[in-house]
Symmetry: C2
Subunit: 246 residues, 2 copies
DNA sequence: CCAAAAGTGTTAACAGTACACCCATGG
DNA sequence: CCATGGGTGTACTGTTAACACTTTTGG
């Protein structure tokens, strides 16, 4: 710290505010679902440059409005979260609120988008498998599709989306036991095996039935889940179904 | 999803890129240290409007350059991380690399800065107590100072910095047992009690000496720490000192 | 009746909790 | 010699992990 007596830091800051060029801020989405006991991510194909034709994570720019003036205080455009909700609906076709999401982190390396300076606030979204069929059905030019993360992941995604996808996967794994994200990947009522399958697919390894069952029973004791009426009839012995208590 | 046959999404994006106003991107820093067995955060006083004179977290805008043109491809300004390093040095006076930091999350509600649309990428930084004395010594206009998070926290911080500070504290607590952050808050060599004190101060509650010791011994077994030569002589019985193996 | 998945039990190892006790040191 | 904190032991409880057994169903 070697600042003269005046306020050079603040003067500098004011100068920056007015003179420096502005970046763009985008949201990128890592939208997971589970289909056929396999973890899938929603990918699109890029249409324009750069990376035209390459697979990429869906996303878009946050819609920002002009700085507030006297008679227009406070309208600075959409909230970051609203941008996510808007993009989620655009990409999946699913209604607001039916898709769970959390912020992952922000990627801000210079040059990550060659067109201009873009900060991307990445989010992880989870689509229940009973809704995933509805999503991404439209075969528009972007070719939105579910891709198996482990078995048909493309060589190379556009921008730094490979890194983002890796981080998202690590994030989901680390939050499996400390959050309720697993419940976002099962239907409203589910059997123990269905929930266990979610854990297995995200962790990428099998789990002991008996041990998972005891953890599950503790969740019932703790009031996290409760048994729901009915049974899941899936060819073999019918299983009890449960429901998550938000 | 109801897109006509052409590429309206991409056209829309191009239009936005050119026509929509741009936001600013800032980094805000929650800089923690431990002094006198008390968790401290570095606060400044705001100089200009808005919130002039109010305490706030230190931070500043990321320096962005004009979009690349033909002979200037790739110079889009500083990386997000570089902005953090620069601000950390400006605010603490400590050299690059001597302060640990991690990204917390991004705050992007419209109106959070009344001047203009600002996205703030908040970071948590940890200053070793043996360096904290050097930091923030200069009594410049911003009045940077260490403030006890639990005992002298101001009523109200500028912007949404109250939320950011709360989130940072929760983050530090949640990462105590699953990361090496505790080692960033002790000198290069430290006694068991010094490390335990870090845990206690961040968690806000006492820990059993014997139990902490056993966890510590496991860390030695796991090769996370090793004993260092010398003893810590602190008035009472000298304690063995250890060093963290990155 | 048989394969497959549901549902249950058993055991050893390990980790967390709450103590109690002795030891070394500086004042 | 005593208060303080370092260093150690221990008994209890809870959790994890591996695995074996029984039950219920559809084909």
């Amino acid at each position: 710290m070697s600042q003269p007596a005046t306020h050079p830091v603040e003067l500098e800051a004011i100068k920056r505010d007015q003179d420096y060029p502005r970046p763009a801020v985008a949201v990128d989405l890592v939208i997971f679902t589970i289909l056929d006991a396999d973890l899938k991510v929603l990918l699109i194909d890029r249409i324009g440059e750069p990376f035209a034709g390459q697979p990429a994570l869906p996303g878009g720019f946050v819609r920002v409005k002009e700085p507030a003036d006297a008679d227009n205080v406070g309208d600075q455009g959409e909230d970051l979260e609203d941008a996510v909700l808007r993009e989620l609906e655009e990409e999946t076709g699913l209604p607001h609120g039916s898709v769970f999401f959390e912020q992952l982190r922000t990627y801000g390396k210079a040059g990550r988008d060659p067109r201009m300076r873009v900060f991307s606030v990445a989010h992880v979204a989870l689509v229940r498998p009973d809704l995933a069929g509805l999503a991404a059905a439209g075969g528009d030019a972007k070719n939105a599709r579910w891709v198996s993360v482990r078995h048909e992941r493309p060589e190379r995604l556009a921008f730094d989306h490979d890194t983002i996808l890796d981080d998202a996967l690590t994030y989901a794994q680390s939050r499996l036991d400390t959050s309720s994200i697993a419940f976002e990947l099962v239907p409203p009522t589910f059997s123990m095996t269905e929930l266990r399958s979610v854990h297995e697919v995200i962790r990428g390894e099998g789990l002991d039935r008996g041990n998972f069952r005891r953890r599950f029973l503790r969740m019932i004791d703790d009031g996290v889940v409760e048994q729901a009426p009915g049974k899941r009839i899936t060819g073999r012995k019918p299983a009890a179904v449960y429901r998550f208590l938000r």
